[in-house]
């Protein structure tokens, strides 16, 4: 187990990258605290797997250093890093039995056979394949093969970190939940540093202590699930996390007033002068439909998803979503929307702006 430090790290797949756009992974400084469970969340192609492969040594970064407990391993081969990694698609050694597959990483490290047998048994129990140990891995289903891959990743106790690259994509939903629980338990029991790549927010939020959100080769926010929900640092985080995502509304902000299409709205905090593209971000959970309060809105559709209702509405020409409780009444004469001022964030060029003056009172300009 180790603390993993990324120092000035960046990677480009091109030989001589010209601009920042050529980098699949933009400059990054980060410490992965020993023993924490991280989720690396982002849409496809945002550099998640690149980052993971750099940590495991399958890829050498174009610039910067990686340190394990302060020791530079930037150019160390994968084998020396003592890392376990599970890939998106199952990798099994077809000609071996399930048992030999699980034992493979241990045997390659020359562990005594008695220890190997004991570990294999333990892991087989964990992934629920005890009765299949004698079978050839060839001919098993995709989810069983993936369980073997997971097992192979977990079989070593002394790894520096466990990396998962969207490992549950091929597994069916109820097994997914079970395996994720197993992984959490494993983390709890052994305290490995774990990095779990996914594009599924539920998976990320339930698995990790800290979620690292990536967008376009950049880490845009690192935080607890709660922080990501309450204070998205980047409009992408707001949009990506939550279902539906945060409403992003272009506006003009002056002090503690926002003007949407010329209509004034009070903000909880004051802001300094802002340049560039200014937007308000407010989660559907903090928007409320009303008859009297707030700004005018046109309701287009109400979707009842069981636990709550999602109201799709038109707000000064922008699509917004509003979440109403299952028991909240939605009627035709509700043509105003009210945003909870303490949960309205202001974004300039997609990045969240920290309020300049903290004022509790909303009012006088």
């Amino acid at each position: 187990m180790a603390k993993i430090t990324l120092d000035n790290l960046a990677h480009s797949y091109l030989k001589s990258p010209q601009s920042e756009d050529d980098f699949a992974l933009k400059e990054l400084n980060h410490d992965w605290v020993d023993g924490e469970a991280y989720a690396l969340l982002g849409s496809s192609g945002c550099g998640k797997s690149t980052l993971l492969n750099i940590i495991s040594g399958l890829l050498h970064p174009s610039q910067g250093r990686i340190l394990f407990d302060g020791k530079d391993v930037t150019h160390a081969p994968t084998a020396e890093r003592n890392i376990a990694q599970v890939f998106q698609f199952p990798v099994v050694y077809d000609t071996m039995t399930v048992r030999d597959n699980l034992a493979f990483p241990l045997r390659n490290r020359g562990q005594p056979e008695s220890y190997v047998a004991e570990r294999v048994q333990e892991i087989a129990r964990m992934i629920g394949m005890e009765d299949m140990l004698k079978r050839k891995a060839q001919g098993l289903g995709a989810d069983q093969k993936q369980k073997i891959s997971l097992g192979r990743g977990m079989v070593r106790k002394d790894v520096n970190a466990l990396l998962f690259d969207e490992p549950l994509t091929v597994i069916d939903p109820h097994m997914k939940w079970e395996l994720r629980t197993q992984l959490k338990k494993l983390h709890h029991d052994f305290g490995h540093t774990m990095i779990y790549v996914t594009h599924d927010q539920t998976e990320a939020l339930t698995f990790a202590d800290k979620v690292v959100v990536m967008y376009d080769g950049r880490v845009v926010q690192i935080g607890t699930p709660e922080e990501l929900f309450e204070r998205p640092e980047h409009t992408f985080v707001g949009y990506f996390i939550g279902s539906p995502g945060m409403n992003v509304i272009p506006a003009k902000v002056e002090g503690n007033r926002a003007y949407i299409d010329g209509t004034e709205m009070a903000l909880a905090n004051g802001y300094g002068p802002l340049n560039g593209k200014v937007e308000l971000g407010v989660r559907p959970e903090f928007a409320r439909l009303s008859q009297t309060e707030g700004l005018p809105v046109t309701v287009r559709r109400v979707e009842d998803v069981g636990r709550h209702k999602i109201i799709r509405a038109d707000f000064f020409g922008h699509d917004i979503n509003i979440i109403a409780g299952e028991d909240d009444r939605v009627s035709a004469d509700m043509n105003r929307v009210h945003f909870d001022p303490s949960h309205v964030n202001v974004y300039a060029n997609d990045w969240r702006v920290t309020p300049k003056v903290r004022t509790e009172t909303v009012g006088a300009a």
Binding site: N53, S56, G57, L58, P77, T78, A79, I83, A84, Q85, F87, Q88, F89, V91, Y93, D94, T95, M96, F104, P105, N108, R109, K136, Q138, G139, S149, R152, G153
Partner: protein
């Protein structure tokens, strides 16, 4: 389920039946016809013992000798070409310009007609004017494929290896290319050494194409005629007289049509049998792979 009976459907099979009859069955039957009769001066004479040519053939030392040489030839070239082809494929650049370059260069021998290959090596190995033969002679190695049995064998084997290893290499390369990167990455993570990567990833994934390569090379080498015939003509003596060379000698040299027909039928059956064995093994491998 009730099936409609319509005997006219038989007519639909007719074209295929005719095609197969003219392309395979009728020519084959003429061979069968020859194999149970004696011919002399354009006349057919029925045999007392219908299977005489077959039983004669089975006691014919000359045929057994040719079969033995044939098996030895196929065995040796398989033992060289398969591992060599795999080795070449493993060491080829996986992508980019040099990969295409290697593929093109390696395909070249495959494009040369058999008798040209024979002629190339026939001249190449000559002591008086051939580059190989002359050089070997000059550096003091006694090499003469027309006189020495061992030299003749080495020549036809090296020729076949030169001509056909590319095929094995290309097939093996195709097999290797189909292995997803994740396998190699997982092997690195699992700290597998080079040998284990080959043994547990590359070889199993190549098995399918390798079986095809073995089958193709076996059948081709078992039926080989032109190249050794052009180089050695079956000599010195009978040293490189393989089955098909022997068959042609018998059918066209001596004009023993009856025995030659019996010979070809048995030759055909042996190839069919061996191909069937290969086929069975391959389909079983596939089934296990599902």
């Amino acid at each position: 389920m009730q099936k409609t009976v319509n005997q006219k459907a038989w007519f639909l099979v007719l074209p295929v039946l005719l095609l197969v009859a003219f392309s395979a069955v009728i020519p084959l039957m003429t061979v069968v016809n020859y194999s149970i009769q004696d011919t002399f001066g354009g006349q057919f004479y029925p045999l007392d013992d219908k299977l005489m040519w077959f039983s004669d053939l089975l006691e014919d030392e000359r045929m057994w000798g040719a079969l033995q040489r044939q098996l030895m030839f196929s065995g040796i070239i398989l033992a060289i070409e398969i591992p060599l082809g795999i080795f070449v494929a493993l060491n080829m650049p996986k992508s980019g310009f040099w990969s295409s370059f290697c593929l093109v260069v390696m395909s070249l021998p495959l494009l040369i007609p058999w008798n040209v290959v024979g002629t190339i090596w026939q001249i190449f190995g000559r002591v008086d004017i051939g580059l190989l033969g002359y050089v070997l002679d000059k550096i003091g190695i006694d090499y003469n494929y027309t006189q020495n049995t061992f030299d003749a064998w080495v020549t036809i084997i090296v020729m076949d290896v030169w001509h056909w290893t590319s095929l094995v290499a290309l097939l093996a390369f195709a097999g290797l290319k189909s292995i997803p990167d994740a396998y190699y990455q997982a092997a690195k993570i699992d700290q597998a050494n080079r040998w284990k990567v080959f043994r547990f990833i590359e070889l199993p994934k190549m098995m399918g194409v390798l079986m095809i390569a073995i089958l193709l090379r076996f059948m081709d080498s078992f039926m080989i005629y032109t190249e050794p015939f052009v180089v050695t003509g079956g000599g010195p003596g009978n040293a490189t007289t393989l089955l098909s060379i022997d068959l042609v000698k018998m059918a066209l040299g001596q004009f023993d049509l009856g025995p030659a027909a019996a010979f070809s039928l048995m030759y055909f059956l042996v190839i069919l049998l061996i191909s069937w064995v290969f086929y069975t093994v391959m389909t079983n491998l596939d089934k296990k792979g599902m």
